[in-house]
């Protein structure tokens, strides 16, 4: 991403326009299109205009995003204080579109200080932080406790847990009370943990439940409403319905003998009914019903299509009709039974959940607490209260500009708050003469936080709303779209366009009826590559013999493990080509076995890999070791804990030493340790620790162990630096614990075990390691190479919903699908559709993380992959345009997608097979000189930056030369597409616009040189109409008995009737004058291109040249030189 880019003017123009602080705007931005950059720019522009920082409110989705945004703004402002006039002018021009002058420069340089010093400062915050501040300002008007505390998520969960337990205890103490009955009903359906989980789900929906109960007028009324919705009578019971099976029967038992007689003449299917009737006769209770139902229903309790055979139906038409009528009745009764069960369990759940919710509200009020939802609700209520008009008035004085980042993640209520704040903007408000704006930027395609209340449909709805309010001549309104990605190459973007092109698919990610907006790459971004690997299917399943397990070291590899290994093998190959580990991002939908297998496989392959991006602290082995240490000290008889500590890096005993201590001992391990002279040092260390544990607080003790006793060093030496995060978090918690509780080691351990704290690793500040993470975690990140590994999970949420939201606002507790009734089926389908839509948005986010290379791979279960899974979506969209090519690891072929057609070079199957057979890395991988050419990173003009890196630093005085090179390059690229007679003018225009820093003579010289080059007779064909720029090329070259894969991009290619001309632009400064001075890599590169093209055009001569942009010179490379370069390449 460090390569210099050519950003087309129209792309810059859109950005400048969006950052124009005078006009309210809404930006719908594609992934990687620089939306956050523009938002920061807009803030800076506001400041440049002289807007008081305190009057800007910038709302982000997370606290981390707020910090990043503020940092970004301050960093740029800080930079400005250091720039010289000219550069600063340029920055001002770039951000505002206008030119800089002395006054502007002076103001720009002061911004940093003023933004820092303003009381209240620049407000970049989450909406919750904004609400907190507001409520603290107006507690009386908002009807909240004057010095309320905001409940964090962990405390909220803990409080709700306690209240749930309280209610359940009361329920069990009074089995005949309302809660007792509810518990008894619920416990039949769900085991304890499941029921608690469902209560948890219900509490998470407390908004909906409270609204429902309020609307119905109470819990009882709500349950009554549920009966009506489900079509059961309030006093129906399981027993009363079971009674009905026979009490209302259309074929009373007295007539069964007659029916049996009629059935006797039938075939097996009919006489089965006789058995059913006979069984029903002698049975009682549910068995009797079940037997009877066998006549009418299948085993799944679906109505039989044919109750009796044709023979009986025709021979006994009255019986046939009566049986059909009875079938209708019992099936309706079965449906009522299902409805009743659904009502009863939902009623039980709501009874208990509503009580917990009510107590939670009371408890918050009593203790002066507000949770996150309250912050939003109370703020809205405050705005709604007529007595609070002056709050709005005061607020109105305070905020002139509202900017919203990640607007797609804003929930409806949060939007309502924003809307209230900006409503005054359009009315003139408190200060009619001040220009006030709203700005929102987001991407509905990237809305993946529905579980946190994000509602993707809102994004477009609110845009329309704002548009109606702001789109007036006085206020001004812009709706802009960012199509250009600053991140990804055209092939990655092309694949995204394809995958989301069908209306059935794009409807999931965008509200735009025209579909997903096109994704455009920057013109000189490396085109990249999209690869589809074949799915890995399980081998023919040989049955596992448990008896052989203890010796079965070559256990069969699951597809997951195979895939993980393949990923690791490929990463290794790419790294041998110069890709850095940090350039690789592996994405999964959820942490699970595949996630773990990939991390493991990478580690085994010796690839640096970041550990899990999130893990439960107490499950980290370094923390387990520390906890075992504490256990062993607290309870000297805990032999196992002591053994664990001794084997841990803290003591580092071997299995053999442990055996010596433990084998055949007569007493505890601790005493054995004390008695054994060989372990005197270990024993005295342990005794010192025991004393330290008694004398110190938990934090003090562990800090002592890790620091003074070098425990951290020992742990890191064995477990690697990733253990640092866990250890730091562990110490933080110890310190945190001491501030809340009486510090005791025992108490800390118990608290830690119960808290199940998670550690999150900051993957953004990545070390040079492969990152393996979930798509959610990767939001906002990018990498050169992205591997989607988890592509065959069913399209939907991570699990089936346990609570269904019915159309009328009520909720229903759902169990198995078969137990659904119609209203629930509909609700389930809606929820499935929402989940499927989010699943597809996740795919969008995942694919757009890739800059150059995107790999889609996955595993297949025993059955076929689920319809609509990621792999299928991508495969269906791309495979027709993919080419099957040998895989990098030589393991068969993979499909490669390129948006722009690569030249159809025949792939030599035998050559591919040869590579595959080798099984080890192909020899050319380890050759250093050729890497430039054969690397999977295509060779593009931008790779010239790498050449710079290899040379001494180019002094700042060379800035002109640099600019000149860029301009020449750009002209060479674009002018050939313009008719010859218009080229001179186009060149002059372009240079006038982009080459302002050059004087007229220099500009004329450049134009003249470029035009002369284009007309050069030797290479006239190269720039004639029909010639092409930046042509991707892939092929195989066999030379010296070896096969080399060539993958690259030819800057200029022309095919004439007799010859093929190729040229590559090079930006070397100074440009070599003689062929001897040309870097050999360039020659090899051209030689390989030529070799590939010779195979394609065997009858034509292939001429190659290098174009030196610095000198604006063309250098033809003789075929002799090229042949030599090719030979050298293979001999190296």
């Amino acid at each position: 991403m460090s390569a210099p880019r050519t950003i087309p003017d129209h792309v810059l123009d859109v950005q400048v326009s969006a950052a124009d602080p005078d006009v309210s705007a809404f930006v719908s931005a594609n992934a990687g299109s620089g939306k956050t950059y523009v938002l920061a720019q807009r803030v800076i522009n506001l400041l440049l205009r002289g807007v008081d920082p305190a009057k800007i409110l910038c709302i982000t989705f997370t606290k981390a995003a707020a910090a990043n945004m503020a940092n970004e703004v301050f960093k740029r402002l800080a930079d400005w204080t250091k720039l010289d006039d000219k550069t600063l002018d340029d920055r001002i021009r770039r951000s505002t579109g206008g030119s800089g002058d002395a006054a502007k420069r002076a103001r720009a340089r002061r911004l940093f200080a003023s933004a820092l010093e303003t009381p209240g400062g620049l407000k970049v915050q989450t909406i919750h932080a904004f609400c907190t501040r507001l409520l603290h300002q107006f507690p009386f008007e908002a009807n909240v406790a004057a010095r309320f505390t905001v409940l964090d998520e962990a405390t909220t969960t803990q409080l709700l847990d306690e209240l749930t337990t309280d209610v359940l205890l009361e329920a069990s103490a009074e089995p005949e009370g309302a809660f007792g009955k509810a518990l008894a009903a619920a416990i039949v359906i769900a085991a304890d943990q499941t029921f608690k989980d469902v209560i948890g789900d219900a509490i998470a929906e407390r908004d909906a439940i409270e609204a429902w109960i309020a609307r119905a007028g109470g819990v009882e009324q709500a349950i009554g409403e549920l009966s009506a919705t489900f079509g059961v009578a309030p006093d129906d019971t399981k027993e009363s319905l079971e009674q009905e099976f026979f009490s209302h029967s259309l074929i009373p038992e007295s007539e069964w003998p007659a029916l049996i007689e009629a059935l006797e003449s039938g075939s097996k299917a009919d006489t089965n009914h006789i058995d059913a009737l006979t069984a029903a006769r002698s049975a009682s209770g549910r068995d009797r019903i079940d037997s009877y139902l066998r006549i009418f229903c299948t085993a799944e309790l679906e109505p039989r299509k044919n109750i009796v055979t044709k023979k009986i139906a025709e021979g006994h038409p009255q019986w046939f009709d009566r049986l059909k009528a009875e079938q209708g009745r019992v099936c309706a009764l079965l449906a009522r039974e299902r409805a009743l069960a659904a009502r009863d369990r939902t009623a039980a759940l709501i009874t208990i959940a509503a009580e917990v919710i009510a107590r939670y509200a009371r408890e918050k009020e009593r203790r002066g607490l507000l949770d996150y939802d309250d912050l939003i609700d109370k703020t809205l209520a405050l705005f709604g209260r007529s007595s609070a008009a002056w709050v709005l008035y005061k607020l109105d004085l305070g905020i002139d500009h509202v900017l919203i980042d990640e607007a797609q993640d804003t929930s409806p209520k949060q939007w309502d708050i924003v809307e209230t704040i900006v409503s005054e903007f359009t009315q003139g408000g408190a200060r009619p003469n001040v220009r006030r704006t709203v700005f929102a930027v987001g991407d509905e395609k990237q809305s993946i936080f529905s579980f946190q209340g994000a509602a993707p449909l809102e994004f477009d709805a609110r845009r329309r709303l704002f548009e109606r309010q702001f789109d007036t001549p006085e206020l001004g309104w812009k709706y802009l779209r960012f199509h250009h990605s600053f991140r990804s190459g055209q092939n990655v973007l092309g694949s995204v366009d394809r995958v989301f092109s069908g209306s059935a698919v794009f409807a999931s990610v965008t509200t735009d009826a025209a579909g997903v907006p096109p994704h455009e790459a920057l013109p000189n971004a490396a085109p990249g590559l999209v690869e589809l690997w074949p799915l890995i299917a399980p081998a023919d399943k040989k049955e596992m013999e448990g008896w052989d397990a203890p010796f079965d070291t070559e256990s069969e590899e699951s597809p997951r493990v195979q895939l993980a290994r393949r990923i690791a093998a490929n990463v290794k190959i790419w790294m041998a080509h110069g890709l850095k580990a940090g350039d690789v991002l592996v994405l999964v939908r959820q942490r699970g076995p595949l996630f773990e297998a990939i991390i493991r496989a990478l580690k085994n392959a010796g690839v640096p890999v970041a550990g899990a991006d999130r893990l439960v602290l107490t499950e980290h082995i370094a923390v387990m070791d520390l906890m075992a240490l504490a256990d062993a000290l607290l309870l000297p008889d805990d032999d196992l804990a002591l053994a664990c500590v001794l084997k841990s890096p803290l003591f580092g005993l071997s299995e053999e030493q442990l055996f010596d201590l433990a084998w055949n001992r007569k007493s505890s391990l601790r005493i054995s340790l004390h008695a054994n002279a060989d372990f005197a040092a270990t024993n005295s260390a342990l005794e010192d620790l025991a004393k330290a544990a008694r004398d110190m607080t938990p934090f003090g003790f562990f800090a002592h162990v890790l620091g003074a006793l070098r425990g951290r060093a020992k742990i890191l030496a064995r477990l690697g630096p990733e253990a640092n995060d866990a250890l730091d978090e562990f110490l933080n918690l110890a310190l945190d614990y001491e501030t809340r509780e009486t510090p005791s080691l025992q108490g800390f351990l118990a608290w830690l075990r119960a808290a199940r704290s998670e550690v999150r690793r900051d993957m953004e500040l990545a070390r040079d390691e492969v990152r393996v993470m979930t798509v959610h975690g990767a939001k906002g990140l990018e990498a050169n190479t992205v591997i989607l590994a988890d592509t065959t999970t069913p399209p939907g949420g991570p699990r089936d919903p346990r609570l269904l939201k019915l159309a009328n606002g009520a909720l229903a507790w759902a169990t198995a699908r078969a137990a659904d009734i119609r209203v629930m089926t509909e609700a389930r389908e809606r929820s499935q559709q929402d989940a499927r839509d989010e699943y597809r948005r996740l795919l969008y986010v995942a694919m757009t993380r890739a800059a150059e290379r995107l790999i889609i791979c996955g595993v297949q279960g025993a059955r076929k992959i689920p319809d609509g899974c990621w792999y299928q979506l991508v495969g269906d969209a791309l495979s027709a345009d993919c080419k099957s090519e040998p895989a990098d690891d030589g393991d068969g072929e993979v499909l490669r997608f390129r948006k722009r057609e690569a030249l159809p070079v025949e792939i030599r199957k035998d050559a591919a097979a040869k590579v595959a057979k080798a099984a080890t890395l192909p020899a050319w991988l380890t050759r250093d000189a050729a890497a430039d050419v054969a690397a999977p990173r295509t060779v593009t003009p931008s790779s010239a930056a790498d050449d710079d890196a290899a040379r001494p630093f180019v002094a700042a005085g060379n800035a002109m030369a640099l600019l000149r090179g860029t301009l020449v390059h750009r002209l060479m690229q674009s002018l050939p597409d313009i008719p010859p007679e218009l080229r001179a003018k186009a060149a002059a225009d372009y240079l006038a616009r982009r080459g302002k820093d050059l004087d007229q003579a220099q500009r004329d010289a450049i134009a003249e040189q470029v035009l002369r080059l284009l007309d050069d007779v030797r290479f006239g064909g190269l720039f004639l109409p029909g010639s092409r720029a930046e042509v991707p090329i892939v092929g195989w070259v066999e030379t010296g008995g070896k096969t080399i894969r060539v993958s690259g991009q030819i800057d200029r290619l022309a095919v004439t009737p007799s010859s093929v001309l190729i040229a590559d632009y090079k930006t070397n400064r100074p440009a070599p004058g003689r062929i001897e001075d040309v870097p050999p890599g360039y020659l090899r590169q051209l030689a390989l291109y030529r070799a590939v093209l010779t195979k394609l055009y065997p009858k034509k001569s292939v001429t190659a040249a290098l174009i030196w942009t610095e000198a604006t010179e063309i250098m033809e490379i003789s075929s002799t030189a090229l042949d030599a370069a090719l030979a050298g390449n293979t001999l190296a």
Binding site: E545, W547, M624, D638, G720
Partner: protein
């Protein structure tokens, strides 16, 4: 007997528990979990089976409830556990009493929590396989039925057949050829006609009988197969060169039990490479 399963799945567990003699201790204030619920409910059903093996009480439901009360008493400190489990136990009791009553029609004698053993030579030593069966029925036709109460999931036919869950087939082997002592004297060795799990979950339905319907062979032939395999296994571990590997079976590759930490599973399962063989 459960030791045999550990032996098959995570030999290191056997090594740590029986060779190093390291026993896991529960933290003092650990609230009861699924395992304890199993113990309590299993215990009450077992007590009932044992106490009324010869004759059913006048009011079976009442009797089982009483036994349940006794078993639940230690949970007094955890009212929450009782709140959830007692209602389930009542449902289980109700189901079990009628299942048990119906089942008795075909039973000659009933034995609960009954211990048996089978000895066979391994090298120069003698290997003793011992087991305590939840319930053994001597059927009226002279054959035996072996029944295991499960408060969790029952084993599948495949797990039983392939040796991943060899408990019941090995119990059958003991019944066929070993010594099983009952209050009524040693049981005569005999054929096993049924191997079944009875799940007791307390949901809907509260209980369920799941007889293992072998895809191949009969309970008798499966018992002989399992015993043969066990003998081979014992012979192999008798060789001191055979390592007690940790987590060899891929099904349990990431976590198995109490000794994962001691085996440092998390360390090598991530960093790989090193062969931890426990000896």
């Amino acid at each position: 007997m459960t030791a045999v399963e550990d032996w098959l799945r995570d030999p290191y567990t056997i090594y740590a528990r029986y060779v190093l003699k390291l026993q896991p201790l529960d933290a003092v204030d650990t609230p009861p979990g699924a395992r304890d619920r199993g113990t309590v409910i299993h215990g009450a059903i077992g007590d009932y089976t044992a106490q009324f093996a010869a004759e059913l009480p006048a009011d079976p439901s009442q009797a089982l409830r009483k036994l349940g009360d006794k078993r639940f008493a230690p949970l007094g400190d955890f009212p929450e556990a009782r709140a959830f489990w007692w209602p389930r136990f009542l449902r289980i009791a109700q189901w079990f009493v009628s299942w048990d009553a119906a089942r008795r029609d075909g039973i000659e004698t009933l034995h609960a929590e009954i211990r048996g053993e089978l000895k066979f030579p391994v090298g120069k030593r003698e290997f003793t396989l011992s087991a305590i069966a939840d319930r053994i029925e001597r059927r009226k036709d002279g054959s035996y039925a072996i029944i295991d109460y499960k408060t969790g999931a029952a084993r599948t036919e495949k797990q039983v057949r392939t040796g991943l869950a060899p408990q019941l087939t090995l119990e059958a082997a003991i019944l066929r050829a070993g010594k099983v002592e009952s209050k009524l004297g040693n049981l005569a060795p005999g054929s096993v006609s049924e191997i079944a799990y009875v799940t007791l979950k307390g949901g809907e339905p509260a209980g369920k009988q799941l007889s293992v319907d072998f895809k191949e062979g009969t309970p008798d032939t499966q018992a002989d197969h399992a015993l043969g395999k066990l003998k081979a296994l014992a012979a192999q571990f008798e060789d001191p060169a055979t390592p007690y590997l940790s987590l060899v079976h891929p099904m349990w590759r990431n976590h198995y039990g109490d000794y994962d930490h001691l085996a440092r599973v998390k360390e090598w399962s991530l960093s790989g490479g090193d062969e931890e063989d426990g000896e």
